[in-house]
Symmetry: C2
């Protein structure tokens, strides 16, 4: 596995140079945690449909456990159990809207993942970089367990466990454990501290940081080892449930869905689960006793357990919904952990937004009213008061306000309406509206007839763990 070791050394060296200002050494977070044997056990998957532009070119890469769709190119990337979806890439002739400007897209957008190293990371969506609308780039990036890159470019960065980079271009940044960053402008050599949730819009800023003790209980990064905490244990306790899915060459899902819904063959489905029309269940989504009402979705790495999603609800990447009931059009953001208990369910009213990286871990039954935003750490009604606001009230905010540990400044109206617009876009893109009212087909309609090319690396020789050069075109 000489080639593979050299590759990891190179990525660590490049990331360390980029992060020199933070006195950060990426090595203990990369070298000792690479499960070399796992790199041989896991395949790469390339999805083929008649709906997506198709071109993949992997050259001397290691790609264990990766999942690709759309146009993808890579050099030497190590992508262990990484999901990369390409079904929202821009097409030639599209127009990208950015801060009031219109940027024409000159050719089909392509995913480039150069000498990156990512483990159990989710990468998704498309480039929100107006300077490179045709290129979804990630380069020399060291991302850790269950980190979440939603929109590129990302280059020369370290992204800690359970962190999310959303629609932001990062250059040489360090994103802390469970941190969330969404920024309207590029970030250069910036550090986002552990547990910081930061939405830095054009006309508003939404920011708070978790209490370090609380954060450590849920997720704690350990140099030279695996992370620890409730969130880590939650994932570890369920990871073996996927083994049957990956050891089978054919779909093992016990439920069938209509042609208006898509249940990915790499999703886990158990218990008394119902999947209605216009539902999208993505790869590595986990459904157990899940009632997925019309137009709902469970995105990559999300969990819906003993819960009911009424209609047009969104479960964003990595979100976990347990013992909860969601009214219509509820948004549950990236990596949020809604942990109701038996006899202590969480009810979320219609139109409410659980902001990304929210932790709701109840000690009593909890009801979030309709059209409210909720964030931070919530155990009971008392916490909820300090960590929620009605969308109508938030819309009226201008200037700076403090709500519990949250500092908000700027236009509340812009945040609320921006979010509502985005929710609408997500629902449409995922196919929630398809039918009598709308003719717009989304992932739920397009994604149910994916064929897979399953690729394996060399098992012996100096290229052990590296894939041959693979090029797939229409």
């Amino acid at each position: 596995m000489k080639q593979l070791e050299k590759l990891i050394d190179r990525v660590v060296a490049r990331v360390n140079v980029n992060l020199r200002n933070f006195s950060f050494d990426a090595e203990p977070f990369a070298k000792d945690v690479v499960p070399f044997k796992q790199m041989l056990r896991f395949n790469a998957f390339y999805g083929v449909t008649s709906h997506h532009p198709l071109h993949v070119n992997f050259k001397n890469s290691s790609l264990a456990g990766s999942y690709f769709l759309g146009k993808c190119f890579t050099d030497n990337a190590v992508l262990y159990k990484t999901d990369v979806r390409g079904d929202e890439l821009k097409r030639k002739g599209d127009t990208m809207h950015f801060q009031g400007m219109e940027v024409p897209v000159e050719k089909d957008e392509e995913i480039h993942i150069k000498d990156s190293y990512l483990i159990k990371t989710l990468i998704h969506n498309y480039s929100h970089d107006p300077e490179a609308p045709e290129e979804f780039l990630i380069r020399n990036t060291l991302a850790s367990f269950y980190s979440n890159i939603h929109g590129a470019l990302v280059e020369g960065c370290y992204i800690a466990p359970f962190a999310t980079v959303d629609l932001t271009s990062l250059h040489g940044c360090k994103v802390g454990t469970f941190a969330f960053v969404q920024s309207a402008s590029d970030l250069y050599h910036e550090e986002i501290p552990d547990g910081t949730i930061w939405m830095n819009g054009e006309t508003f800023e939404f920011k708070y940081t978790y209490d370090p003790e609380v954060l450590a209980r849920y997720i704690k990064n350990v140099p030279g080892g695996k992370p620890e905490g409730v969130l880590w244990d939650f994932m570890e306790d369920r990871k073996d449930d996927y083994s049957d899915i990956y050891s089978s060459a054919v779909s093992t899902t016990p439920v069938t869905v209509s042609s208006k819904s898509a249940l990915n063959r790499y999703a886990y489905v158990a218990g008394d689960t119902h999947i209605h029309e216009n539902v999208l269940v993505s790869q590595r989504a986990y459904l157990d006793n899940a009632w997925m009402g019309p137009g709902t979705n469970a995105q990559e790495h999300s969990y819906v357990i003993n819960s009911m999603l009424e209609k047009n609800d969104i479960t964003a990447h990595g979100a976990k919904i347990i013992n909860a009931n969601l009214g219509e059009r509820v948004f549950v953001g990236f990596n949020s952990f809604i942990n109701g208990k038996p006899g202590m369910p969480v009810s979320i009213g219609a139109g409410s937004m659980v902001m990304p990286h929210t932790i709701i871990d109840v000690e009593e039954p909890l009801t979030i009213p309709e059209r409210h935003a909720v964030w931070g750490y919530v155990r009971n009604e008392e916490d909820l008061k300090n960590h929620s606001i009605s969308l109508d009230d938030l819309s009226k905010v201008t200037g700076e306000v403090t709500l519990g540990n949250l500092t908000f400044s700027g236009s509340g109206y812009d945040l609320v309406h921006g979010f509502e617009h985005r929710i609408d876009h997500i629902l449409e893109a995922n196919g929630a509206y398809f039918g009598d009212v709308s003719k717009v087909r989304g992932h739920a309609q397009a994604g149910h007839m994916i064929s897979y090319n399953t690729l394996q690396p060399y098992l012996t020789g100096k290229n052990k763990g590296i894939f041959p050069t693979i090029d797939i075109q229409p």
Copy 2:
């Protein structure tokens, strides 16, 4: 599936033009038997090792159920459950020996399967065409169930069920049901009648034809339908046993083998089966209560059931060995059917040769002595007398002799010694000799660390059943 239908029409038209002299219409043997749904269910497999030159390029092809290794190129080929192995392809710098001439090999040999159509066909080995040593070509060939192409070129031919073309270049030929042809020279627009076994060497000719009534009992081609007969039923009765193997993404074989032996993950293994050192068990081989002694092999599509192979025995492609005991260095040729019964075993002495396409279907226990050749239809000791000869006696034959329904002319010595030389080559190539005595590694040693790229066709759209363009290089 428009593209796929057009492709089949084109192949039928081309084959019919080639076979116009035989007033033969390939259509009923091609069009009505194509299981379109099956074309979507089965994948293509491309094997990657660090031992074989690697380059595959499939362009707008349909490839269902195919298995490739080595350098392969294809255009539009429909290859349903077809095995194509490329691990014996010649390498740049090799020398091909042909009728006393030495032909230098200028570049790595490549398999080209152009607009062919093959179903459940086995294609193997390398080009024995001295005019094209670097190209293993098959083009516009319509091959039927379980036919066996061992060495190309083959172009514009129809090859009927259970027929074998061995080391022969065919141009516009029709090869009948269960016919076997091995010819030292090219064959142009020739018909090999049903059940004709014909070895046409440089210095000898070995030829007989099965009684049509006997043949029809074992295998009968049916226009517009599936074949019938004992051999067909034998295959059909066992085909479901492979389903677990193909529906699993990982090896399901219940036995482990040493690193000196190769058990292909697409082989079926059941019962009390033992696999010793230097054994090769190839894809779709079927072992049930099989004692595979050192240096033995079970090649593609072969069956070894309730049988013992002592040492260095060869089970050639498609051969079936049931309730039999083989001494050392027994050769069982292509598609031979050795059907011992419980209490009526077949014993075969050391050094004996069961010629290709022999049917031994006993009514009593049967013993074939050491160093004998056996052919034709054998049910009992009486039949055996008329269908066997000691290799020593055969070696002494010159001129023309008749032995039962067999006509032999030419040099018996050349046949016997040619065969013994070939057996030695097969054993060496398969790795039977690897160890203390010989350092020659064969398939048994090289073939146990194959990784697979598993490829699927488009499942929707006009290209339904067609694969995207795939190019794999080192």
